[in-house]
Structures are given as structure tokens and as C-alpha cells.
Amino acid sequence: MAKTHEYKKLAGRGTRFEGGRFIAGYRLRATLWLGLDHLLLILSTSFNQEFKRFYFKDIQAFTLRQTKRAFAWNVILGVLAGIFFFFTILIKNQVAWWIFIGVGTIFAISLLINFLLGPTCITQIKTAVQTEELSSLKRLRTARKVLHQLRPIVEQAQNGVTAPTPLLVPSPPT
């Protein structure tokens, strides 16, 4: 884990689009950092940084919602790879054949990588005044890993605030 001064980088990296997604908008790279008493979300372009702090004592909840984005990309990449590999059967020209094989392989590798990264999710952090999406935690595996790391830290920081229900609820029997 990268460490810079008082901040430790948490796993995950994502992007967020501000403004329009394709027209008149811009892309921000999102990273999450662990500070001494707060979480720092940095949204950066090449030349500036915007950051939001979430103090541990103010964090009310993290929510996770699994999305179908990874599945959609698997389908798209699979279809594209299939199309290109299919055309290699029909093509007689050797140069074109190698081009189609190359492009098909790129899509196939992308598909494999996307599959191995696992399902996608949307992670949000909730405080009393805002609910913010943690754009760097886009993969479920990464989000679980980071939340597993953060939960004891936040609970320790909030020690002393009475909760009417137990923090840990056992999973329901299957």
C-alpha cells in the first residue's frame, strides 16, 4: 500500500464523469486515501485535484450495490471476440487473417481480464449531510477488501456513541 506523508492509499481506482458524459464533460480519476482521522477521496485530472474528507466520527454507513456492468462488458467483449474469430474462418487473405486474429485476441484478453476482476458495484459513503459515491471502489472484491479494512477503524473512532442494536448481525441460516 502506497504511503505519502500522513495518507495511505487504499486499494481501488476508478473514474467519475462530471458534466456530460461524452459532450462538454470531463473525466476525473478517483482514488481513496486513509488519513489519521478521516478518509480522503481525491478526484483528479491531469492538472488539478479536488478532494473530499469524511471524518471517521461522522461516517454513518457504507452501502454496496452490485451492478451488471461487468456482465455487460463480458457480453460485449465476448461477442466482439467471437465476431473477429468467426471472420478468420472466412478470410483467405493472410494479412487480413492476422489482423482479425490480433484484434480478436485483444478482445479475448480483455474479456478474460474483465472476468477475472469480478463483478462491479457501486459503493457509497453516508454521513449526516451527504451520501457520496466512492468512485474508486468499482469492483466488488476491492470494495469488500477496503470496507473490511475500514470498518474496525471507523468503529474504534466512534467508540462511545451508543448504538441500540448490535453492530454485527449473523448471516441468516440458508
Binding site: Y7, Q49, F51, F62, L64, R65, T67, A128, E155, V161
Partner: protein
């Protein structure tokens, strides 16, 4: 009386029932069916206290600078003005008046309120390197890089810290480019 804040599904905004809080395998949302998880902390149950300022009751009691009829409870740690409970802004243990908070934010003195930084070192380095792809554009890029590097040398960089190495490289590259152009100019004049 405490008011529990709702935790909602990020898709359909339906309230997540407490019986699925802190469950490790994701559970389908009762409204939209998407697998969701909610991990809550004691702050969710924290009582939201209503703040009200007491009126000055006794002669001689200090009144707030901004509300003279309200009783002062502490001074601003920046300007020393007396503040009532309404005017007191608690910023991570530091008590400030609204004026000092606003001034501190504008002047960049309150680091915890800072939420944006321009990365001048990257601008200078980009201005020094990118024009090199087209050669002729360095005649514009090099002075810009040099100006930015010198003008913003002391400006705060990335919030994550770092050295001035980008500024140094930009100054070196820009200086070399300017010297090269001067050399070409001198050669052309002499010839």
C-alpha cells in the same frame, strides 16, 4: 428524541431494513432486487442536538459579538470575539466565528476546509515536454513552462505531498530550449 437516518438503496432509494445491516453476503433489495449490503456505524444513531443560545440574563454577562442579546460562551480562537452557541463553529476542536471561518477558507489558512488544488508542477512539466513533439512550439512552451515554474514555485502541490522535482525538470528543460533558440537566433544573425 433521536431520529435515525435512513440508509437507502443507491438504485431505487428504498429504505434498507435494519435486519440486513452488516450482512456479509449481499442481499436482494426488497424493492428493486439488486444485491445490496449496508454496513452501519454508531454515528447513524447519534442524537442530533438542537443548538440554541441563551439570552443574557445578568448585567455584566458577556454577550455575543454578533448577537449582543445572546450569552457568550467562548471566544473565537482566531480573532478573540465572544461567540454565542449559534455563532460558534467547531472545526475539529477549533472554535471559530463565521467571519474567521470564511476568511480562513478564502486565504487557504484552514487546511481542513481546503478542497481543491491546482498542480502547477504538472502544468510546468507538460508545457516543457509536450511542445518538444513539434519542435517549433517550444518557442512558446518553454517560456510558459519557465514562468509557471518560477511564479508558482512556492504554491502548495499535491495534497499527498511530494517534491519539487517536476518544477526542477521543467526549469531545466525550458532553459535548455530557450538557450537553443537563442543560439539559433545568434547563428542566424551572425550568418
Amino acid at each position: 428524541m433521536s431520529q435515525i437516518q435512513l440508509v437507502t438503496c443507491s438504485k431505487c432509494r428504498a429504505a434498507i431494513p435494519p435486519d440486513i445491516f452488516n450482512l456479509e453476503p449481499l442481499t436482494p433489495c426488497l424493492s428493486c432486487g439488486n444485491p445490496i449490503g449496508a454496513f452501519i456505524f454508531p454515528a447513524l444513531y447519534r442524537e442530533q442536538k438542537m443548538v440554541s443560545a441563551e439570552r443574557v440574563m445578568l448585567e455584566g454577562e458577556a454577550g455575543c459579538f454578533y448577537h449582543p442579546e445572546k450569552k457568550a460562551i467562548l471566544p473565537c480562537e482566531s480573532c478573540g470575539r465572544f461567540l454565542c452557541a449559534l455563532c460558534d463553529v467547531d472545526l475539529n476542536g477549533q472554535h471559530l466565528c463565521p467571519n474567521c471561518l470564511d476568511t480562513g477558507k478564502k486565504k487557504g489558512k484552514l487546511k481542513s476546509l481546503e478542497n481543491r488544488r491546482v498542480l502547477y508542477d504538472r502544468i510546468a512539466l507538460t508545457a516543457a515536454i509536450v511542445p518538444m513533439l513539434f519542435i517549433w512550439t517550444t518557442i512558446i512552451g518553454a517560456p510558459i513552462a519557465l514562468y509557471v515554474a518560477i511564479r508558482y514555485w512556492k504554491a502548495p502541490g499535491s495534497i499527498l505531498g511530494g517534491s519539487k522535482i517536476r518544477f526542477v525538470i521543467a526549469i531545466i528543460l525550458a532553459s535548455m530550449q530557450i538557450l537553443a533558440w537563442l543560439g539559433i537566433l545568434v547563428y542566424a544573425l551572425v550568418k
